[in-house]
Symmetry: C2
Subunit: 311 residues, 2 copies
């Protein structure tokens, strides 16, 4: 049997993935295109932005493994077989990278480093009041794999962290609350909100005028999840009113962020080009290899997506 | 007996220090000026930038306690009595703040966040290669109270840390090397160098063309100690040649950094207005109070300065 890589990758991305997958799966036949092999010999597909219909007509398919953490594109693609287990990427290097980005953002907001960068551009030497980490409560919304890692890392570095998720979760060193009723309490107590919610129809537009109104004046938003979580016009209004002091945004409704978009030049928005956590092909290939081996040996698969919940 | 506060503080600083010292020393007489009290009743002086001669003519003086961590100004002031024990400030909140600033700087350099800020100003969406923390060796120069705290915090967050100091030190999770012979090895292996050396005549101009030449091409400097440690012209030359990729500077030869200084507008220099670690009057007053109580009870004093070593 063979493994089809159905991935729309750049040449640079191929240059990273191909040797990593070959090294992690030395006894497997890896196909970079489907045409060369009979369809019934393909039992696993590794996918990243597959072309529409690319996974159809594969009668032996037993596992679809995303090379990315987010799978909302695959779930929205009606040509992706729904009766084949779908696994998403849980790459330890990517999880670690997300924790680093969240920590860097929180440190920057807590210690005024974004303001000091603004001061430098204005040639202004001015010291601002230094708060302690334990005086800077952080809310982490979304306690999936990424959110839990972020919450733990922030707690490890001295921040009082409240986590919030739709269903109850447990995270070491973090007060974890769940459900709609707890949300106003979590928002009202946060100096900094870090968004790592899953991307589902229910979380679309989660950060809107109503949500921002529940935050303390002068609080900050770090969006590391999806652009669709934030109503952009409401974010700009919250910054203009002083409800929000600053936003660090890694994700946007349209990516790349279009030229001339008001976020680019906004003094209180930090724009990152969707780099909070990139997949590291070396460790990600190991994640794939563990599931491929589990499938071959009849063992349980890891990181399967619940297609009803959407993550 | 009474405690003289010989400190050139701004009104804001007085507003923080005065209630904090009163709360920490409820049974002591605190003097904001010397004139009102006979000199022989003053046995302790709390000092920050004292006026020249302010500590002379105090026959009962038994302790000079700096309100700041750095004491090179006091050591250079020939009117400060040399036969009275001199203690420096070791404020846990300040030590913690220094660890935060170092970690923020290292995360920013490691994960290209300074470059992404530059890209934002240019409206450029471009992802850069993501390295793991364990691929990003950091050298911490100076393993005093601050340097050890910084080295530990970086190691806790996944960085391979080499510490270096004039005399051998031990730090959990850190490879600590000592002496001139070890320095080239430490410099050659560093992607990021964090300076926390003490400020002494021997460390003046420590970072010069020779030091920079020993770093790998494209490495980075974080100076959180003293401006005098860095030869500014050599730093600019190292940035121009690409030897250094970026410098984060909290301290300068002249502070505030003068208007028009080339550091202000340099795209690869981050200027902070000497805020890496501010004293927190609340916890710092506790540090003072412990030494005052020790003196009153005849117990050993802490954080005494070795006037020969200079720190």
């Amino acid at each position: 049997m063979a493994i089809l890589i159905a991935a729309d990758l750049t040449p640079d991305e191929w240059a990273a993935w191909w040797p990593a997958l070959q090294a992690a799966l030395p006894h497997e036949t890896l196909l970079r295109e489907r045409s060369s092999t009979p369809a019934e010999q393909i039992d696993i597909a590794l996918v990243a932005n597959p072309h529409g219909g690319e996974l159809q007509g594969l009668p032996a398919l037993r596992l679809i493994h995303s090379l990315w953490a987010g799978v909302e594109g695959l779930l929205a693609d009606s040509t992706v077989p729904v009766d084949v287990p779908l696994a998403r990427m849980v790459d330890p290097a990517m999880t670690e990278a997300m924790a680093q980005t969240a920590l860097w953002s929180v440190l920057g907001l807590h210690r005024h480093f974004f303001r000091y960068a603004e001061q430098q551009r204005a040639g202004l030497w001015r010291q601002r009041r230094q708060w302690r980490a334990d005086e800077t409560p952080v809310a982490v919304l979304g306690l999936g794999h990424m959110g839990r890692s972020v919450a733990r890392r922030l707690a490890l570095n001295g921040y009082p962290v409240r986590g919030w998720s739709a269903r109850q979760a447990e995270v070491d060193g973090v007060v974890a609350l769940a459900g709609d009723a707890a949300l106003p309490h979590v928002l009202a107590g946060a100096r900094i909100v870090v968004n790592l919610l899953p991307s589902t129809p229910a979380t679309r537009g989660f950060f809107n005028a109503d949500t921002f109104a529940q935050l303390p004046r002068g609080s900050n938003l770090v969006n590391l999840a999806r652009g669709a979580h934030v109503v952009e016009a409401d974010l700009l209004a919250a910054l203009a009113s002083g409800r929000l002091a600053h936003a660090v945004l890694d994700v946007f409704g349209t990516e790349p962020l279009p030229a001339g978009h008001p976020f680019w030049a906004h003094p209180h928005i930090t724009v990152l080009p969707h780099v909070a956590a990139l997949t590291d092909a070396r460790s990600a290939a190991q994640c794939v290899a563990r599931n491929v081996q589990a499938l071959r040996q009849g063992l349980p698969l890891q990181h399967l997506v619940d297609r009803i919940r959407g993550y």
